[in-house]
Amino acid sequence: MDKNKRKAYIINTISIISLYLVFFILIQTKVMNKYFMGIAIMTCIMIIMAMSLNIVAGFLGEMALGHAGFMAIGAYSSAYFSIALMDTGFPLPNIIVLILAMLVGGIVTGIMGFLIGTPTLRLRGDYLGIVTIGFSEIIRIFFINFEPTGGAAGLKGITKLVNFNNVYWITIVIIILIFTFGRSKQGRAIISIREDEIASEAAGIPTTRYKVLAFTVSSFFAGIGGALYAHYQAFVEPSKFGFMFSIEMFVIVVLGGLGSLTGSIVAAIVLTVLPEMLRGFAEYRLLVYSLALIVMMIFRPQGMLGRSEFSLTKFIESLILRKDIKNSIDGGETR
């Protein structure tokens, strides 16, 4: 392991732990009440959702407008599983149940993503976008009509397993996993398809297989996000996973910058916290939000970070050496 890499790992580990400690102290001293904690948990879930969507929308460069449908599958399957597991009365610690439920949600959604992706990824651009909207709406209508999971009334009786402590660490793990995936052989193959599909096919990359892989991995993580959502709200209903929710996630990804995972993280934080901050204005809230969206896109169409990643190591270096701060936003580097 070379020296720079080790330094980056140490800095990132320290910053992750210190961020956690800050939250820990805020929670212990009751500065952060239940309301803020709820926002923080939702932010973590949205970070996972945005990053997973970024695999398809950013890395692969395809328009996927049905992410809420995958989240719904994850939420329902994991909740159904955890309820069944709790009913058996088998004494398992909560965290184990949560992890098992997440895995079930992720795997079921991943399989669905594979099944949906295989035929639909032949389509391009807007057509693919429409088909993904179609699938996500079909999933929603299915859950409205599916009685075993409560139908339109929603699934009740889920044990609340998610709290800030575990969701923080789960989010960190998923961030690391998605970053690693992005830089793996598979991730780079997927990015090459975005850059030029014909050229990458000519270079011997089986494009269809990698497209389906991107779609499957993306839906796997979306399923995990859905599982966390279900076990945080302790209640899931189909109306939550409508078309507008998919759009909301897509907006986060584009606003952060397509293909920039750190951008997704920042945008997820901003766009989850901002509407809550504007709650004082109540009815003007969404008006301001939509105006901000339009203005942002007109003046910075490539999103906050474009395609580059924010690197904490470089940021600190530039602070110490008083170099141009802009250097800290650079392509290809992890935080």
Binding site: T120, R122, D126, V131, E137, I247, L258, S290, I294, M297
Partner: protein, 292 residues
């Protein structure tokens, strides 16, 4: 058999409204390759204006329909000028997000001005039931189908026969070549938005008359379905949008009548997915070969 004919008429009724809205989507897409998500909201505002003119001003019926169409045509041009024109050379997804932003903005503006509770749309046309050999058709249905067909034919003639119409076709075929031929592209795009928005407003008025309601989020579902209709017919192709609209309306009505009300939307999506899987460019779309 009578029930079937009845449902056929209902399908035509809903389908003609979808077709009107779908034309707006397909024209805008054809010319600047943008899914104009704000189109559903243009439709909603058109319905609100008609509601205001009919209830508060007591205007005659033709004015209640025509004035909102003109206002929304101007609004469509304004939306394009303010929100989409600065992004014409930006990545397409950024323009898409802007369209979503405009859609949300207009929706919340309506929510602020008109409040969330649905208003009852007055009957614009004198209600009589016409009996055609056992099939009962209300005059509203007839007027809806007639008006939609009239404006669709008008648009088709305009696009095919006039100079401006030819300019619209030229720009959607090849923008750069159109510039070289001395076509004012900016003005042509504005014209497209004006026509699409006017038809969208008409669709909104007819929709609100058919469902007797106006409310701020009324544009979302018919907007989405009309867009699906446009894709189904082959996006960018005006006759395709009309065909797609009628197909979606018919399928929806028939499933509601014979199969299930709750699954009707799902079946619409399933048909869309199946059509696109076998013919990725839509029913009337041409396959383009990919070049290296």
């Amino acid at each position: 058999m009578d029930l079937f004919l009845q449902q056929l008429i209902n399908g035509l009724n809903v389908g003609s409204i979808y077709a009107l809205i779908a034309i707006g989507y397909t024209m805008v897409y054809g010319i600047i390759k943008l899914i104009n998500f704000a189109h559903g909201e243009i439709m909603m505002f058109g319905a609100y204006f008609a509601f205001i003119f009919a209830t508060s001003f007591g205007m005659p019926v033709w004015a209640v329909i025509l004035v909102p169409m003109i206002i929304m045509a101007l609004a469509g041009v304004a939306v394009e000028f303010i929100a989409y024109r600065p992004l014409r050379d930006a990545p397409r997804l950024s323009a898409l997000i802007t369209a979503i932003g405009v859609s949300l903005f207009l929706q919340n503006l309506a929510l602020l001005i008109f409040k969330a509770d649905p208003k009852v749309m007055p009957k614009l046309f004198p209600e009589t039931i016409i009996n055609l050999g056992g099939v009962e058709i209300s005059s509203t249905t007839l007027v809806t189908i007639g008006l939609s067909l009239f404006f669709m034919v008008l648009l088709d003639l305009y696009i095919r026969k006039t100079k401006q119409g030819r300019a619209v076709r030229a720009v959607s075929e090849d923008k750069d070549a159109a510039i070289l031929m001395g076509i004012n592209v900016d003005r042509t795009i504005s014209l497209t938005f004006a026509m699409g928005s006017a038809l969208g407003a008409l669709g909104g008025i007819l929709y609100s008359v058919a469902y007797v309601q106006v409310f701020p989020t009324m544009g979302v579902m018919p907007g989405l379905k009309a867009f699906i209709a446009a894709v189904l017919g082959g996006i960018g192709i005006i006759p395709g949008a009309m065909l797609g609209g009628f197909i979606i309306g018919m399928v929806e009505t028939m499933t509601k009548a014979y199969l299930s009300t709750t699954w009707a939307d799902a079946i619409v999506y399933i048909i869309l997915i199946l059509v696109l899987l076998f013919k990725p460019t839509g029913i009337l779309g041409k396959n383009t070969r990919e070049k290296v």
